[in-house]
């Protein structure tokens, strides 16, 4: 048995992708499925949409991260500034 290495795993993964793409085509051509949506009857829809969805989400998250990611002590600092004190923390409760 071949040793499990990073490279082998990736190769196996690519083989799976190829097999799935073929399987999808096979399903469309020979099984004539009653899919949930007509969109699924476009050849390769699931593969393309899966890829695109993932890519879009990553890019959107990356873009939003620029604005929304802050240092871990953001609120403590912010509050300190507001009060004109250094290191003033949340004193709720």
């Amino acid at each position: 048995m071949a040793k499990i290495t990073k490279k082998n795993l990736f190769h196996a993964f690519y083989v799976c992708l190829f097999a799935l793409a073929l399987a999808e085509l096979f399903v469309l051509l020979f099984l004539h499925p009653h899919s949930a949506s007509w969109l699924e009857e476009i050849p390769g829809f699931n593969a393309i949409y899966g890829f695109l969805s993932c890519a879009i989400l990553i890019l959107v998250a990356k873009a939003l991260g620029h604005w929304l990611k802050k240092e871990e002590d953001y609120y403590e600092k912010k509050v300190g500034e507001e009060r004109g004190e250094k290191g003033g923390g949340m004193k709720i409760g």
Binding site: I4, F13, A36, A47, S53, C54, A61, L68, K69, I92
Partner: protein
């Protein structure tokens, strides 16, 4: 024949007996109430007390009637999953020594079951508020490291929920005022001022479901709870809100859009977050989004889908929180950037986390696959764009968990030598058993969903395992994996927090407190000193001198502002209840 027994009250009363037991006896006792509740449910569903639907436990209240036991298929399926999840979670929590933590967990679960069986709006509100307070206590009872953060977060949490509770109560009272009925059934919906009671009730309910922008309490507070507390919190508040939405607002179109937004919102914020438990909390918002969208579509298929998904979600999300809790238990850390490779020494935890991740991503043979598909089929019938967006979010779930694996650096390809120097190990046996049982249920309902489908309130004509569906799902997920491989360098975890919609409240809240502490107090002390000066003029009349006992410089006894605000809200709530009861209900 024995009387009908309320499964939720078994847990609530069971909670108060916990301090009577010690050591092994306590551990044995802890499993008794959930078992008893499960037996009660079995007896109910076998028709021991009548054929469903029926309602029992009516009590007179003012001119109205409280109904504690409304039994039909919808309340039974939620009752089952709540009790089942409670059993697994209590098993997981068995090693905890703190009585008060166990008690608040029991009361929390019991009140969530109370919400599910509530047949009228007063009972609903009653259990709703108990649930809010019990869950706050779960967060507050975080002792040791992180206790201060937990206390603060718990405070913000209860503020949100008291606000939601007041809105809900106002809506309920206006609703009763306008319709004269206290029954908890579907509310009328439309546009116009006459629907105001429905709108208020709606806002109260969606706040608990974690619908943006009213969701910020969820990722803020849940991760601050204890390892065990977080597991409980992940299941009951949002899912009891899902139940009430099904009961009250199924088919409300607004929910479709809110649910779709939730599903995508939860994913994007989950990816950005560094703290894994906070990331899991965002994942709750994402999953509840699918349910909320299903409720909005409102067809039998969609409602079945939403209910099945809630059922399965409680299991796999509970499992993920348990796995994360045991990583926290072993390492004391929960941030991706801090974790490194500790988990390598925790093979069982790793397996359970993987089962949870596969379930939530909807892989065939796991329960996410058999439940999510129904909502999606209903969405495709409803509108293409909604189906596309929900599918996008569902692919995103897999991306999110791939990203978490990457963040946790789980050993997909590490050599044995790297594992050698790590000392931590899998958690105590009860935690492993709790996770094992939950993982078993995740796979069981994935392989053999029929028992779940039989529980659903509407007839199920749905076969998940068809070749096209399996192939389609697998290729969606696999190509998502490919995109992840290509783009993952963009998603590097950073030592950051992510701003959310609680930003204005946190900042404005601080400004308000600053205003109270600085200008307001200054003004008050100015008035105070003025009054004292005037008083001192009178003191020449001799005996009055003694009343000026407190000098101006003597420090006054102060109460933390937060406590004062809490008290004000509680008094306001009591005032509201009393006024409305007497003003409205008295002839």
């Amino acid at each position: 024949m024995i009387e009908w027994v309320h499964p939720g009250l078994i847990l609530i009363f069971g909670a108060f007996l916990i301090p009577l037991f010690k050591g092994r006896w306590k551990q044995a006792y802890l499993l008794l109430p959930p078992t008893a509740a499960f037996i009660a449910l079995l007896a109910i569903s076998k028709g021991a007390f009548g054929t469903m639907p029926y309602s029992v436990w009516h009590f007179p209240f003012l001119e109205y009637e409280l109904v504690f036991g409304r039994v039909d298929k919808l309340s039974m399926v939620f009752g089952y999953i709540f009790v089942l999840a409670a059993f697994c979670m209590i098993l997981y929590a068995l090693h905890e020594k703190s009585n008060r933590e166990h008690m608040s967990q029991f009361v929390y679960v019991g009140s969530a079951i109370g919400v599910v069986f509530a047949g009228d709006l007063f009972t609903l509100y009653f259990f709703w508020e108990i649930m809010a307070i019990a869950s706050m206590l779960i967060i507050w009872f975080h002792a040791g490291r992180g206790a201060k953060e937990a206390h603060e977060a718990g405070f913000r949490y209860i503020m949100w929920h008291l606000f939601g509770g007041i809105v809900l109560l106002a809506g309920i009272i206006m609703y009763i005022g306008s319709t004269g009925s206290t029954a908890f059934n579907a509310f009328s919906w439309g546009s116009g001022i006459e629907y105001l009671p429905s709108y208020l009730i709606f806002i109260g309910l969606i706040l608990n479901a974690g619908v943006p922008p009213l969701h910020a309490w969820l990722p803020d507070a849940y991760p601050e709870a204890t390892k065990v507390g977080g597991v409980f919190l992940s299941a009951f508040t949002t899912k009891s809100a899902v139940y009430t939405l099904i009961r009250g607002f199924s088919g409300c179109e607004l929910l479709i859009y809110l649910g779709t937004i939730m599903a995508i919102y939860g994913i994007i914020f989950g990816i950005l977050e560094n703290d894994i438990r906070r990331s899991l909390a965002y994942s709750i918002i994402n999953q509840v989004g699918f349910m909320v969208a299903g409720i909005g579509i409102g067809t039998f298929l969609a409602l079945n889908g939403a209910i099945a998904h809630a059922f399965c979600h409680i299991l796999y999300k509970g499992l993920l929180w348990m796995a994360m809790g045991s990583i926290l238990f072993a390492t004391g850390r929960s941030k991706c950037t801090d974790l490194g490779k500790y988990h390598l020494a925790m093979p069982l935890t790793f397996i359970f986390f993987t089962v949870g991740a596969f379930s939530i991503s909807g892989f065939p043979l796991f329960n996410g696959f058999t439940s999510k598909a129904m909502t999606f089929a209903a969405a495709a019938e409803y509108m293409d764009i909604i189906w596309l967006l929900l599918t996008l979010a569902s692919v995103g779930v897999f991306l999110h968990y791939l990203d978490l694996f990457e963040g946790l650096k789980f050993p997909y390809y590490t050599s044995a030598s790297e594992r050698g120097h790590i000392k931590v190990g899998d958690p105590p046996v009860n935690m492993v058993l709790g996770m094992g049982l939950t993982a078993f249920l995740c796979i069981f309902f994935g392989v053999y969903p029929q028992p779940l489908y039989n529980l659903l309130p509407y007839p199920v004509d749905f076969i998940p395992y068809t070749i096209p569906h399996v192939v389609g799902t697998l290729s969606l997920l696999a190509f998502c994996g490919l995109a992840f491989l290509l783009f993952s360098p963009l998603l590097k975890r950073t030592k950051t927090i992510t701003l959310d919609t609680d930003w204005p409240f946190r900042i404005a809240g601080e400004k308000f407190i600053w205003f109270c502490e600085k200008p307001l107090i200054a003004f008050a002390s100015w008035v105070d000193s003025g009054m004292k000066r005037i008083a001192s003029h009178f003191s020449v009349f001799g005996s009055l001198e003694k009343t000026k006992s407190r000098s101006r410089d003597e420090p006054m006894e102060t109460v933390p502002i937060g406590t004062a605000v809490l008290l004000i809200i509680i008094f306001f709530l009591m005032y509201l209840i009393i006024t409305l009861m007497y003003g409205w209900l008295a002839p």
